[in-house]
Symmetry: C2
Subunit: 415 residues, 2 copies
């Protein structure tokens, strides 16, 4: 792919930091350096950080390691973390990444932002499923408001529609979207996963129209049927057109804001160039905590921990589905999510979920997220997203009774 030709105009202004450029000279043996403007490690507030993990394992960041965790670090990744990411990615996805193909992010959300910054002029568009993650719309809207919606069903994005839409745009001579965006596992909010056949079809289509793909996959490992996830778009791609976002928010802890982008070295190079001016690098302390976790747990142990967490989510999902079946009216539609944290309820046509939640939610004591926030077209008014991640099992049945009551009130309003 000719990446440079796809970049937004604003990217021209990015230049490498004059200081980071000197790092190789700094490393000359015997060098007396007045170069780096870093604070002296003696001034850092920390002596040590001792971590106990839920697994029972513990480790301590001290001596040289605490200085590294407290000091400015490289923009792409902390040197201690990067090899762990390479190994984990290879094990998890079967994809072997070069060291220039990884950019650690302040959460995968930052990757959505960086992609928008790098590629989206305000006249550019992205093509993606409707609904889509509201945070994606938030990130992309910082640079463009042009989104091309593709329908989605129980198998994920309807790639036949993707193909049809692009063919129509191409034959009309319209400016094609800059990239295809998808959440292939446990889609937020729709709860669906992209089938293997459609993954392959999506790649074929991207190839035909020479489009980049942004694969946003925070729920990959939250497989509620305890199956292995399907191959990633990145793993299936042989043309270097997938930029993939991995997140540690659902398998480690979201508060630390840790994710990473991987993909063609040229694109990742631009991630790095932009992130220098954005925030220099992702917290070195957070990276040290993740590196310590990965150093003290085998991949098998990490997978076992994830599987235990999935057990919790599966029980929650099943409880909500059972109560929904028992209490919701027959004209409310939803599907069984095989991955992720969400059930997407379609209410009868004419329903206004926003009005419903804002009018009745507080009084009935029930909250779901209205679908409109996940729409790029101002639609999806008769949908709500229900998250089962944090629910109290004892309240699920009562919750669905209240939801049914809320639905009937809204039905009354539309008459």
């Amino acid at each position: 792919m000719n990446i440079k030709s796809l970049l937004a105009k604003r990217v021209q202004g990015l230049k490498p930091s004059p200081i980071r450029k000197l790092v190789p000279i700094m490393r000359t043996p015997g060098m007396i350096s007045f170069g780096g403007g870093y604070p002296n490690a003696q001034t850092f507030a920390f002596t040590s950080v001792d971590v106990v993990f839920k697994s029972g394992r513990r480790f301590t960041i001290q001596d040289k390691a605490i200085d590294l965790a407290c000091q400015y670090g490289p923009t792409d990744a902390s040197p201690d973390l990067k090899p762990h990411i390479v190994r984990w990615h290879a094990d998890k996805d079967g994809v072997s990444l070069g060291t220039e193909q990884i950019q650690v992010l302040t959460g995968a959300q930052e990757g959505l932002h960086v992609m928008a910054y790098l590629f989206l002029n305000n006249e550019d568009s992205v093509i993606m499923s409707e609904p889509t993650y509201s945070g994606t719309l938030g990130a992309f809207r910082a640079f463009t408001e042009r989104f091309i919606p593709v329908p989605l069903d129980a198998q994920g994005m309807v790639t036949a529609d993707l193909e049809r839409i692009l063919a129509k745009m191409a034959s009309a001579g319209e400016r094609l979207p800059k990239f295809i965006y998808d959440i292939p596992n446990g889609h937020n909010p729709a709860g669906v996963s992209l089938s293997l056949e459609r993954r392959k079809h999506l790649l074929e289509i991207a190839s035909r129209y020479d489009l980049l793909i942004l694969e946003d996959d925070p729920y990959q490992l939250i497989q509620l049927e305890d199956r292995e996830p399907l191959p990633t778009l990145q793993a299936l791609d042989h043309e270097g057109r997938v930029v993939r976002l991995d997140s540690f928010s659902k398998i480690f802890a979201p508060g630390l804001r840790l994710g990473y982008a991987s993909g063609p070295a040229e694109v990742i190079g631009f991630f790095q160039l932009y992130k220098q001016g954005l925030n220099l690098h992702t917290s070195a302390m957070d990276q040290a905590l993740l590196a310590g976790f990965l150093a003290n747990h085998t991949h098998t142990e990490f997978r076992t921990l994830i599987r235990e967490n999935i057990g919790l989510y599966r029980r929650n999902r099943d409880a909500v589905l059972a109560a929904a079946q028992k209490h919701l009216p027959a004209d409310v539609r939803y599907n069984v999510p095989e991955a992720g944290l969400f059930i997407w309820f379609e209410l009868p046509a004419g329903f206004d979920a926003e009005r419903m939640v804002e009018t009745d939610g507080v009084e009935l004591g029930i909250l779901m997220v209205p679908g409109a926030g996940f729409s790029m077209t101002g639609g999806l008014k008769n949908y709500v997203r229900a998250s089962f991640s944090m629910i109290n099992l004892e309240q699920v049945e009562e919750g669905m009774i209240r939801f049914a009551r809320m639905i009937e009130r809204e039905r009354g309003r539309i008459g």
Copy 2:
């Protein structure tokens, strides 16, 4: 000020997250919420984090606090940290901030970026001293390449020149810059601090032309003469036109990436709106570590720790100045930095510091940062920045001898 009229066109696309909007409903007593898509705290990897500070104080993040440090948090600041910031800011600057006037950042660098995103269309300009911090140029160049240089001397930005330049632009009917940017203490790279008289003059000028001011102040507390810092621009301002960036990088630890913006609630509201899509929030773990430090040290104790660190920097500065006086030729000019970490050396006219460092640096074993990286005009070729923060005292004399040798080689080249 009419902030809305100053915003870049791209800001129109920003919308609040539909989920964060529901938070007040979520807090209704008795609410059964399927709203927040947060992972369940039971799945987080951490049981506890036990910190030992260099002061000898220790504290442990555990129970509810570890769940909060591991979970997604509010965009503006972690609830545990914000009151500490309000108190510290009031004590340090004599400025009382409302809770809507603070945005915690992934390092103050992120604040430079956010200001550029919010205010700089590609035809907009910023007015600031030449030289300026290279990371500022990096952040701003992501959106514009128009910079208006103002000379700088031992008292900081020459505000008489600032006044003259703006008057000329205004009378020629030119588009005025969107804001004035300055680093008022221990300027990076110039090592100078803005005098009180010029602080007041700068505010007067901003008021006359109705301009915002971006006060970037990471070296405020690194006062090498052990004097109290001068009043901040924000403290001297009575018109709500200063956005101030504070950093914990030089007084706590830079690796955690912690800073904050403070200023008019309307501007900070846009910071928050943008940061939602950018990276949701600054690491809650890093915020918990800082909150723990501030909870376990009085302001007096914190100031004492900072003063001890300043002692180290002062010794380093004095050693470099003594060796420079002894070994450098008389036509090399520099001044004594009263704050910060840098000495800015002016070499004779015609010198090309980039060539000099790249040609001779490795061979002679001496590194300084060429001035060109701090120039918005492609100038400053005969300057170098020397940082004294991380030097080895025993190598300083030899370092200045090598620097003198490097200078003579360059002098030979220009003949």
